[in-house]
């Protein structure tokens, strides 16, 4: 693995490898000194063409815990006509000796361009590209789900997959890189995915994806589900006729208090509620759902650092070396 660009082409072996390494990294986060010397002297550039404080600080924390030097490069508004081109930016970073580039870009495929061209030789990590993919988000989601799934089955997480787990992903699939990365990775890990969305927010061609599609949230819940992942509704969709109103969206597709109660009445006591954040409370998720014991929102954030440490470590230290934190103890359960 030279780059981490998408989960679509991530093998099961590499996915498990990243998740297992993340378990080791999680142990570092539980120590008093949250730092490993693994990437000392290596330079990681966070190249962000789009604002995302959450993702950037998660990658920054991950790189710093591995003792890498971190450069944050906010390149908003870069284009051919105004400012510097992606090519020139990449060549500049190469000249500065970047070992890894963590790129967030509003344009789908921008990380692939960095990886496929000779503009820069560094490892490229996709930190979210347009409406294409967000592989580390899917990996941290899978990490969170795997811990939950392993706990239910009474086993350990390491080496495990998600065979048999039923996952519903609900909301704006059309514009969601999180949904795409999750569909591919969950397929690889053996989970059964159902997308729940208004037909306007599903891409043409979704019928070819390795998942089921439903227009009915209540029906999906009643069929039984082990994790419900709510996607953020972007503000710019609200006035573009994707749905009539936010209230109707919330009623039909949101995870509201009624649906929270329905999980109990359906006997789904172990079903978790996930959200990649930032949440629109009262729109796609109610405050009660977001704050309930079922919610894994904060665990997802915490696990994000571990997963990103694992990705940086594996890409920069080479595939053949064993993870560093081999002596770490298993971390505590994270279900809320």
């Amino acid at each position: 693995m030279k780059h981490l660009l998408s989960t679509e082409d991530l093998s099961l072996a590499n996915a498990i490898r990243i998740l297992d390494t993340a378990e080791e990294m999680a142990a570092v986060g539980d120590r008093e000194v949250k730092k490993l010397p693994a990437l000392r002297g290596r330079t990681v550039v966070n190249l962000f063409f789009e604002d995302s404080t959450r993702t950037r600080i998660s990658f920054e924390a991950a790189a710093k815990r591995l003792s890498a030097d971190v450069i944050n490069f906010a390149a908003k508004g870069s284009s051919v006509s105004k400012g510097e081109s992606l090519k020139d930016t990449a060549q500049t970073l190469a000249a500065m000796g970047a070992d890894a580039v963590v790129i967030r870009h509003w344009a789908s495929g921008a990380p692939h361009r960095l990886a496929a061209t000779d503009w820069i030789d560094a490892a490229v990590i996709n930190a979210g590209d347009g409406t294409h993919e967000h592989p580390t988000q899917a990996l941290l989601d899978a990490f969170t789900m795997r811990r939950h799934w392993a706990r239910l089955s009474g086993g350990g997480s390491t080496g495990a997959d998600l065979k048999g787990m039923r996952v519903a992903i609900a909301g704006d699939v059309l514009h969601s890189r999180v949904a795409r990365s999750n569909v591919w990775l969950l397929r690889t890990l053996g989970a059964e995915v159902t997308l729940v969305a208004p037909p306007t927010l599903l891409p043409i061609g979704v019928e070819q994806w390795p998942c089921k599609v439903s227009y009915n949230m209540d029906e999906t819940l009643s069929l039984g589900v082990d994790a419900v992942m709510m996607l953020r509704v972007q503000g710019e969709r609200m006035n573009a006729s994707f749905f009539p109103s936010t209230r109707e969206y919330s009623r039909r597709w949101g995870f509201d208090d009624n649906r929270l109660r329905a999980l109990d009445s359906l006997g789904l006591k172990d079903t978790i509620i996930m959200h990649p954040g930032p949440m629109n409370r009262g729109l796609e998720i109610s405050a009660a759902a977001a704050d309930s014991p079922r919610s894994t929102v904060l665990a997802q954030v915490r696990n994000g650092v571990s997963v990103r440490m694992a990705a940086l470590y594996l890409l920069l230290s080479g595939d053949t070396r064993e993870p560093a934190a081999t002596t770490a103890a298993r971390s505590t359960e994270e279900t809320n």
């Binding site: 051919v80 081109s85 090519k87 921008a110 361009r113 347009g130 409406t131 294409h132 061609g205 994806w209």
Partner: protein, 450 residues
């Protein structure tokens, strides 16, 4: 070459891919064809071109070329673009109107026309804009462009759809006054806002905004009905979907006066290539699916689609060496058109070389109303002739092309067929597969013409 008074004896070329015959070219016309050509009195002192194994065809006519001049001389000039055209086997090109300034006045089309004459590689026929500044609001002075020295007959806002149905109706009606044709870029703008690639299975995975087939088909459906209603002549640029072929087939069955073109790249490439995110595959209309490619081939073979148009669209490298979303749309095509069409249509058994002559020359000249192009290879006809080696194989290398554009989607592909010679008005602009010299009007005819 120049000392032989422009007399060429082509020996044993397969005319339209049929029997091997001789052709005698002298003073800009085909002086003789067949057994008598070699012994014809005008054959004295002729330069002999041994053409055994070569196919003789009428010079190709491109109904859709972007020469970029005036305004984007960093992308292409009339000189470089028409060199590319000659090398590709063309003797005439229609220069699209989206230059800067837009070719929406008699002055600009005459400028492009005279640049073409000065270059001398092919006949440059300017296309006039339908609306002022391609803005889609007000008709450009179509009559002034028609009456100008450029004698514009084809009008197009190519790149932008004339989407206002009233304006489209008026344009179709108005051009009847001078036997013009409106060449429509069929793209419903609201359905394609921000569109990046064909909408379908691949766009769903890549997260690129989709460009639905219906955005093309709905405009074509509307326009053929408008053309029927006002009894005018419609040409549909770069048809790219199976549904569009069906609509045009239906319209022709009803006797509607519509013609259509397909690009070489839409006859060969599909949207699977976009998975690379390499903007060399970004084009308008977008690459579609394999089912569309097959329908386009069938439509071209059965005459539903009348012509091949290259939509040659050179861009400076910085407009392609970037993110997909920021890249310019367009591909070069003049120097690969013949080979791609041979590969996609002839080597698949769908067409003969005679069919090739129809879709690349005869029908194209008729659409553009070019009297001296696309003519039969017979005695007395203008000597716009090309010789093609159908057995040649070559690997596309954009860096060696005459066009300034390096954005060929066929780079690295091995393709069949090579243009060996191009005769434009009886003058060899291309000989032995390389550029020769441009055609120069004699002092007398130049003075008379301008």
């Amino acid at each position: 070459m120049a000392e032989n008074n422009g007399t060429y004896l082509i020996r044993g070329a397969a005319i339209l891919g049929r029997d091997a015959e001789d052709l005698l070219i002298r003073d800009g016309v085909i002086a003789a064809r067949g057994a008598g050509a070699a012994t014809h009195e005008d054959a004295q002192g002729a330069t002999v071109i041994e053409a055994a194994g070569l196919v003789a065809l009428p010079g190709m006519v491109d109904v859709h070329t972007h020469l970029r001049e005036p305004g984007r001389e960093d992308a292409e000039t009339v000189e470089t673009g028409t060199r590319a055209a000659a090398l590709g086997g063309f003797t005439a090109v229609h220069a699209m109107a989206n230059s800067n300034p837009v070719a929406d006045t008699a002055g600009v089309v005459e400028q492009v026309h005279s640049l073409g004459r000065a270059a001398g590689w092919v006949d440059v026929r300017p296309v006039g804009a339908v609306t002022v500044g391609l803005a889609g609001e007000q008709l450009a002075e179509l009559g002034a462009m028609a009456d100008s020295r450029a004698q514009v007959r084809m009008f197009s806002d190519d790149g932008i759809c004339v989407h206002d149905p009233v304006l489209m109706r008026r344009a179709l009606e108005y051009v009847k006054a001078f036997d013009g044709v409106v060449a429509q870029h069929a793209q419903e703008p609201r359905l394609t806002a921000g569109a990046q690639m064909n909408e379908g299975n691949v766009s769903a995975v890549l997260g690129l905004t989709g460009w639905p087939a219906v955005a093309e088909e709905s405009i074509i459906a509307r326009d053929v009905l408008l053309a029927q209603h006002v009894d005018s002549r419609l040409h549909v640029c770069h048809v790219s979907t199976a549904g569009s072929v069906e609509i045009i087939r239906w319209a022709k069955e009803r006797g509607i006066n519509v013609t259509a073109e397909v690009t070489p790249h839409h006859l060969l490439l599909t949207d699977d290539l976009v998975r690379s995110y390499n903007p060399v595959y970004k084009v308008n209309p977008p690459l579609r699916t394999d089912a569309d490619v097959q329908a386009l081939r069938a439509g071209l073979a059965d005459g539903t689609i009348d012509v091949v148009g290259t939509d040659h669209a050179p861009h400076p490298s910085e407009h392609k060496e970037c993110e997909w979303a920021q890249a310019a749309m367009g591909m070069t095509g003049l120097e690969t058109a013949l080979s791609v069409v041979q590969h996609a249509m002839i080597e698949t058994g769908l067409m003969t070389w005679a069919d090739f002559a129809r879709v690349t020359s005869t029908a194209a000249a008729r659409i553009g109303r070019l009297a001296d192009q696309g003519r039969p290879l017979e005695a007395g006809e203008p000597a716009n002739v090309i010789l093609v080696d159908p057995a040649a194989r070559w690997t596309v290398d954009p860096s060696t092309m005459a066009t300034m554009g390096r954005n060929s989607p066929f780079a690295g592909l091995e393709l069949p067929g090579k243009v060996v010679a191009t005769f434009y008005k009886g003058h060899p602009t291309v000989l032995d597969g390389t550029l020769n010299t441009p055609y120069r009007e004699s002092a007398a005819s130049a003075a008379g013409a301008s």
